[in-house]
């Protein structure tokens, strides 16, 4: 398997000399092509900071992140946007759809930013929407459709450009349990059938149980690492709960 992402001893500090907060304190791991990795941890464990650093929205204090041998931490400021739009796909907790655009236009937006020829945009948008079962609502506005449909639209937007890695930040956070389950099945499908590489941050064990591998963070460090292997999802879920109990995280984080 090809290594897509290589995180090497990254650190992220906040604050000044007298009062340093280590949001990330020396994390290293690899992501291989076609992997579905979950990152779990309590609030303040550094999982969102980690995701932000990988997604180039935030910068690291030290260490390196390589995407297919290119060092992301060395990319110049003016090239970052280009790098991001060509290599990364984003799924956010609150969908981040523009309510002035229709569902179709929200998906097409990323393609226009990437300067895809106008004729192809329509084709690609329709194709991806059909795959995710939202072609019926393409002409509606975000506030006219359900949360699950919105998130599916967001996923379309994340993958329509064929990014090298998809970064998802609490993708089920704003959905009810039924919609969340549907969404996770879609993501699992994407991973299995389309061989999409996904990195998902969540604190919900059920969501995490859809991933193939989970990293647990605590106080900015990797606390534990488990793999699904050939296990049933239910067993994997229980295993996650065990680790969480061990993690001693806030009871609120364990559903």
């Amino acid at each position: 398997m090809k290594k897509i992402l290589k995180v090497e001893q990254i650190q992220k500090y906040y604050g000044n000399k007298d009062n340093i907060t280590k949001a990330i304190d020396g994390i290293s791991f690899d992501v291989e092509e076609g992997e579905f990795i979950g990152i779990m941890g309590a609030s303040g464990s550094g999982k969102t900071t980690l995701l932000n650093c990988i997604s180039t929205i935030d910068t690291v204090s030290s260490g390196h992140i390589y995407l297919e041998n290119q060092d992301m931490t060395e990319i110049k400021e003016e090239n970052i946007a280009k790098f991001r739009r060509e290599n990364l796909g984003f799924i956010f907790q609150d969908f981040n759809l523009l309510d002035t655009l229709t569902i179709e236009e929200n998906i097409a937006l990323i393609l226009t930013i990437n300067k895809v020829p106008e004729k192809e945009i329509d084709k690609k948008t329709l194709e991806i929407a059909r795959k995710l079962g939202i072609e019926e609502i393409l002409n509606k506005y975000p506030y006219q459709v359900s949360g699950g449909q919105k998130q599916r639209c967001a996923i379309c937007r994340a993958i329509v450009n064929n990014p090298k890695i998809i970064l998802a930040d609490e993708p089920t956070g704003s959905l009810d349990s039924k919609a969340a389950r549907q969404l996770l099945e879609i993501m699992e499908d994407m991973n299995n059938k389309m061989k999409a590489t996904i990195l998902m941050v969540t604190h919900d064990p059920l969501s995490a149980s859809y991933a193939k591998k989970i990293l647990f963070l605590k106080d900015g460090k990797i606390f534990n690492k488990i793999e699904k292997g050939e296990k049933q999802r239910k067993d994997f879920y229980n295993e996650i709960l065990d680790v969480l109990a061990l993690l001693g995280g806030d009871a609120r984080d364990v559903r």
């Binding site: 997604s55 929205i57 003016e78 970052i80 946007a81 280009k82 790098f83 991001r84 739009r85 060509e86 990364l88 984003f90 981040n96 523009l98 309510d99 002035t100 655009l101 236009e105 097409a108 937006l109 990323i110 393609l111 226009t112 930013i113 990437n114 895809v116 106008e118 004729k119 945009i121 329509d122 506005y141 506030y143 937007r157």
Partner: protein
């Protein structure tokens, strides 16, 4: 404590309202400086006509106050809504509504007070500039001195704080009525009506274009025949214009959607989609305000242009109608006493007396003016005729070269504005028959020899001296026809008729120095006394009638200049005053709208950034968004007002040339775009800062 908190919150928002604050300061400064001019004795003593200036400023202040009230009210209500979350939080903490509205009042009074003080200081400075411009216009020396007019400060304070008090009362009422829930969730409200019935709107859009074009055409048609203008049609055109403008702004977003977003290849080009969606959702929520702004722009643009046209008209009247310092017409040709008086009181350079002849119209003007804006303008049924010797003498006095003609040639000397009409006519018809004799029209000349009613109405025919005896006979014949060109004046029980043609004996003089208003008064008094001597004791009404005739037949350049300068100062300052305040108010409103919406836009642009747009592209998109936003209420008014101005200016055609009309339009649009542009750039800079988060 609460005061401190609120003060800090206000300070944090200050950057969004900086533009508003500056606009209020400049408005106060303008208000104060104009009020100072209105109350200044230096200015009102410049000329007897400058009194109108003060009165006009007082009148115009009503409009200014209304515009200011509109702006301040809009901005304050806006601020109130933006800070609703803050006020809602206070209320949840248990602070009474009354103290909240007290804080809001106090804050705004503080802002207003500071703006007022700075404005007065700036206004004092502006007053000096304006005064020196006016003094310069009247060739008076002026020394800059810092002086406050208490009266002007008083008037400005009454206007300004009056507006503030009313607006604050309105805000307090709003705070009183509002519920906590609304305050807390006001920010979450979406812009409604994002989707509209697109098909219906496209029809509305087409209808608005039809209405606007129709209004312009009707308007043009009416002004083309200004002499028999139908008031009802003008009214219909105005109604069509107003309805058309509002419909345009209600339906334009659907048009944009159809034009740019229903066509996929156009939609997906560059940032079109993002841009137009942002724009249309904004236009939809404020189509009514945009319509009002556009309507006001049309009025201001047209009004300012008409004001400048009147200025041109007056300046041209002086240039075309008053080339000689003193011009007198009499019935009997005895100028000896007048000459004596003039020589005694001024330094005469040159003086000449002659006779102007009136004959029945020979047809040049009637045919020459056909189909031009001058049609029907010269319906006197008479032509004025000058002999060549007199003509050359009149030219010589003004330093023009001598002209020779053969015995079978004539010249037409006309106003510069009518020259092209005559030339076009004579190109095809250069032969003319006058009283059984054939003449050739040698040329059309347009030197100014006082042809605004003195040496003819807009033109005169110059004939060889040898032809004068025949002209003289015709002139006598015409005089016996009583019905021509008579003005009926009632004197006592009897109706008397005056004939302009009776005053055919002319005296013109040029002097070393320009005469003043006082000389004119004295000269007219002298002439009236002469008349009285001739007619003996007459009763009051008749005396007034004689006076009118006497005054109408005495003209001095000096008096006319003083009148026109006052008029010039009044019109241009007032047009400038209204236009600038209005443009500033409107631009401020648009700027504040966009800047305080930048929170919402920040989220949208942030997303674009995450999706991989770089800062340069984002700034470019912001620039485009703001450019469209500022252009939308302005482009339509410009497109509409230019044809309207051109139609209206047909009325002024006799006194104003086409170049002057286009120059006016250029000047006004230039100023307009300059002020508007400054606001646009300021908004763009601040917007970039807000979005990129380093401001």
């Amino acid at each position: 404590m609460l005061g401190k908190l609120s003060f800090r919150n206000a300070k944090r928002q200050a950057k969004d309202y900086c533009i508003y604050f500056i606009t209020v300061i400049i408005s106060v400064a303008l208000m104060f400086s104009f009020n100072s001019i209105a109350t200044s004795s230096d200015i009102s003593e410049l000329s007897s006509y400058m009194n109108y200036f003060s009165k006009a400023i007082a009148g115009i202040s009503i409009i200014i106050v209304l515009v200011m009230a509109w702006l301040i009210n809009y901005c304050m209500v806006f601020m109130l809504e933006k800070r609703s979350k803050e006020f809602g939080t206070y209320q949840i903490l248990g602070i009474e509504k009354k103290s909240i509205s007290n804080i809001f009042t106090l804050e705004n009074l503080m802002i207003g007070g500071i703006a007022f003080i700075i404005g007065i200081a700036l206004g004092t400075f502006l007053y000096q500039i304006f005064t020196s411009i006016i003094m310069n216009l009247f060739n008076q020396p002026y020394q800059i001195e810092i002086s406050f007019s208490l009266k002007a400060i008083g008037i400005t304070a009454i206007y300004f704080f009056g507006i503030f008090a009313l607006v604050l009362l309105n805000c307090r009422r709003k705070i009183k009525k509002i519920k906590v829930y609304d305050l807390l969730y006001a920010e979450k409200k979406n812009e409604n009506n994002i989707i509209k019935n697109a098909k219906g709107n496209i029809i509305l859009f087409a209808l608005s274009i039809v209405l606007l074009v129709g209004a312009i055409l009707i308007n043009n048609n009416e002004f083309a025949n200004a002499s028999n203008m139908v008031g009802r049609n003008i009214f219909i055109a105005i109604v069509m214009l107003i309805v058309g403008i509002y419909l345009f702004y209600i339906s334009i977003s659907s048009f944009i959607v159809k034009r740019y977003l229903n066509n996929k290849s156009r939609k997906y080009k560059k940032d079109n989609m993002f841009l137009y969606r942002n724009l249309t959702s904004k236009i939809n929520t404020m189509s009514f305000s945009l319509g009002t702004i556009a309507l006001m722009f049309v009025i201001i643009l047209t009004g300012a242009n008409v004001a400048l046209l009147m200025n041109n008209l007056i300046n041209n009247e002086i240039e075309m109608g008053y080339p000689y310092e003193i011009m007198i017409s009499t019935q009997d040709g005895d100028f000896s006493k007048y000459k004596e008086y003039i020589e005694k009181n001024t330094k005469v350079k040159n003086m000449y007396e002659y006779r102007l002849y009136n004959i029945e119209e020979v047809g040049i003007a009637k045919k020459g003016f056909e189909g031009t804006p001058f049609q029907g303008k010269s319906d006197n049924k008479i032509d004025c005729v000058l002999g060549l010797t007199d003509y050359n003498k009149l030219r010589e006095m003004l330093g023009y070269e001598k002209i020779n003609i053969h015995d079978d040639e004539i010249i037409i000397n006309c106003l510069k504005t009518t020259k092209s009409a005559f030339e076009k006519y004579t190109k095809e018809n250069c032969e003319i028959r006058i009283f059984e004799k054939d003449f050739k029209i040698k040329e059309i000349r347009s030197e100014s020899i006082a042809q605004v009613g003195f040496n003819g109405f807009y033109y005169a025919i110059i004939v060889p001296d040898s032809f004068i005896p025949i002209i003289k006979q015709e002139d006598e014949k015409l005089r016996t026809k009583n019905d021509i060109n008579a003005t009926t004046v009632k004197v006592g029980e009897e109706k008397n008729e005056i004939y302009n043609l009776d005053f055919a004996y002319k005296l013109v003089a040029t002097t070393e120095n320009m005469t003043d208003e006082k000389f004119y008064q004295e000269l007219s008094n002298f002439i009236i006394n002469q008349d009285r001597e001739m007619t003996g004791e007459i009763n009051g009404e008749e005396q007034q009638y004689t006076m009118q005739i006497s005054l109408g037949n005495v003209k001095t350049k000096g008096e006319k200049m003083s009148q026109s300068k006052s008029f010039y100062a009044t019109i241009s300052f007032l047009a400038f005053y209204i236009a600038i305040i209005f443009v500033m108010a409107t631009a401020t409103l648009l700027a504040i709208q966009q800047l305080s919406d930048s929170e919402k836009y920040k989220y949208r642009y942030e997303l674009l950034k995450k999706l991989g747009m770089d800062e340069l592209q984002i700034n470019r998109t912001i620039f485009k968004q703001l450019l469209f936003y500022f252009a939308i209420p302005m482009v339509l008014p410009i497109i509409i007002s230019i044809p309207i101005i051109l139609s209206v200016s047909q009325v002024f055609a006799i006194g104003v040339t086409m170049e002057e009309i286009f120059r006016n339009i250029g000047i006004i649009l230039g100023m307009f775009i300059l002020v508007y542009g400054i606001y646009f750039i300021a908004t763009d800079v601040q917007f970039d800062r807000n979005i990129n988060g380093n401001g």
